[in-house]
């Protein structure tokens, strides 16, 4: 459509000579939003689309002077300042309704999970009151539904660092979370022999949830906003700057744990469980030492 074409072309021309910095991109985006609001208003009053765009641009006045004045970022800026600026530029409003909703749902979720856990433990010890046992499957299903709502709701929201997930994908993650928690809750009722169907349903739900998470997980694409990537690249930890170091660390980890677990099995057979756990402890220590060394080593690529 020509309406939006005009606005976008005008902005592109006005910003053409500028280096693309977060600052200029932010200003361009802001002006674009305001121009669109004005065009919408004019069209609502009955102005033709092309005329509305032209008038909105005319009313804006000369932005070249403004654009030129923000051209060069301060070269003496420290990395910390740049990070702070990037965060401030990209901040998004968190709607109070969303926060209140999520906190309330989380409280309900905590209550539901507590009922399921306590009920299952008491049930396992055969000292649970009848009403608690009756409430278990309902509590499990409700907890699952609440968790699913929280997960789906959160993923469908745009945040300062992430674009919103597509509604259908978010729904998928929400359903998978529901199936997972409800399934585990139902599995926890295994101690009630007669109600085998609940246990079976629970297993099926848990499996379905696992498969759904795997399917959604491997088809997931990037949701992170460009400015976050840029920041990670410049100021992030070593693994996000240097993928090779991350891969090397992955291999070290596998080697350490294979050695640790192997030693644990051998020691368990030869010396017994009293001492064999030390092998796992040693593996853990080595793992953390390597992690520290990898993350905070002097970076030779920067010298």
């Amino acid at each position: 459509m020509t309406t939006t074409d005009n606005i976008h072309r005008y902005l592109d021309e006005a910003f053409a000579d500028l280096p693309r910095t977060p600052d200029t991109a932010d200003l361009k985006e802001e002006i674009r939003g305001n121009l669109q609001a004005r065009v919408q208003e004019l069209e609502g009053e009955g102005t033709r689309p092309e005329a509305a765009a032209a008038r909105a641009i005319a009313e804006l006045g000369d932005i070249h002077e403004l654009v030129d004045s923000i051209g060069d970022p301060d070269p003496s800026a420290r990395p910390v300042d740049i990070t702070t600026r990037l965060i401030a530029l990209n901040r998004m409003k968190v709607s109070p309704a969303y926060v209140v909703r999520t906190v309330l749902l989380s409280l309900l979720l905590a209550g539901g999970v507590t009922i399921v856990t306590v009920g299952s433990i008491l049930g396992g010890l055969a000292i649970a009151p009848a009403w608690l046992i009756d409430a278990l499957p309902i509590a499990a299903l409700l907890s699952g539904a609440i968790l699913g709502t929280i997960v789906g709701d959160a993923l469908a929201h745009e945040t300062s660092q992430h674009y919103p997930m597509q509604p259908r994908r978010a729904l998928g993650f929400g359903l998978a979370a529901f199936a997972g928690l409800a399934g585990l809750g139902l599995v926890a009722t295994w101690f009630q022999g007669p109600q085998l169907w609940m246990f079976v349903t629970g297993c099926v739900l848990t499996l379905a949830s696992l498969m759904a998470f795997i399917a959604l997980g491997i088809t997931q694409t990037n949701r992170v906003k460009p400015w976050v990537n840029e920041m990670n690249h410049d100021f992030g930890d070593r693994f996000s700057q240097d993928p090779i170091a991350a891969a090397r660390f992955g291999i070290y980890t596998v080697v350490i744990w294979i050695a640790g677990i192997g030693l644990f099995i051998v020691l368990s057979i030869v010396v017994g469980f009293v001492w064999s756990w030390l092998a796992l402890l040693a593996a853990l220590l080595v793992f953390f030492l390597v992690l520290a060394r990898m993350l905070f080593a002097v970076d030779s690529t920067k010298e």
């Binding site: 674009r32 305001n34 609001a37 006045g61 000369d62 409003k93 929201h157």
Partner: protein, 124 residues
């Protein structure tokens, strides 16, 4: 772009220059009651003066940036699902303090100028 005002061109220029010096305070004033985005602020100012005076939108962007830099307003992106994204501004406590002080300063200045102008009037 400016609607024809009842003043002569000469006095219009004078008024614009005077007003331009108070753009920051005027913008802070529009944000006292509500969080607004750029075009909304522009519209509020335009409607408040009945079209007699329009701050150029381009000028406003420079003002927003200055106010944010000084910590007098906060900026954040709204989460509109339709239409373009909008950058909203919210006055901070520091901004309210500066606004109040500027208004007090203006009132004092206004009194002094009125007095001076009247004094000159009565002498001539």
């Amino acid at each position: 772009m400016t609607d024809p005002a009842p003043n002569t061109p000469q006095s219009e220029v004078f008024a614009s220059d005077l007003l331009r010096g108070h753009t920051d305070t005027i913008v802070l004033g529009t944000l006292r009651t509500a969080e607004r985005y750029g075009f909304e602020i522009y519209k509020t100012i335009r409607e408040a003066t009945g079209g007699d005076y329009e701050i150029k939108e381009a000028t406003l962007y420079a003002t927003f940036r200055r106010l944010v830099k000084d910590g007098l307003v906060d900026a954040y992106w709204g989460d509109e699902t339709q239409g373009g994204r909008r950058k909203y501004y919210r006055i901070t406590d520091a901004g309210r303090a500066v606004y109040t002080r500027n208004v007090a300063d203006w009132n004092a200045t206004q009194r002094i100028i009125n007095t001076l102008l009247n004094a000159k009037d009565s002498r001539s």
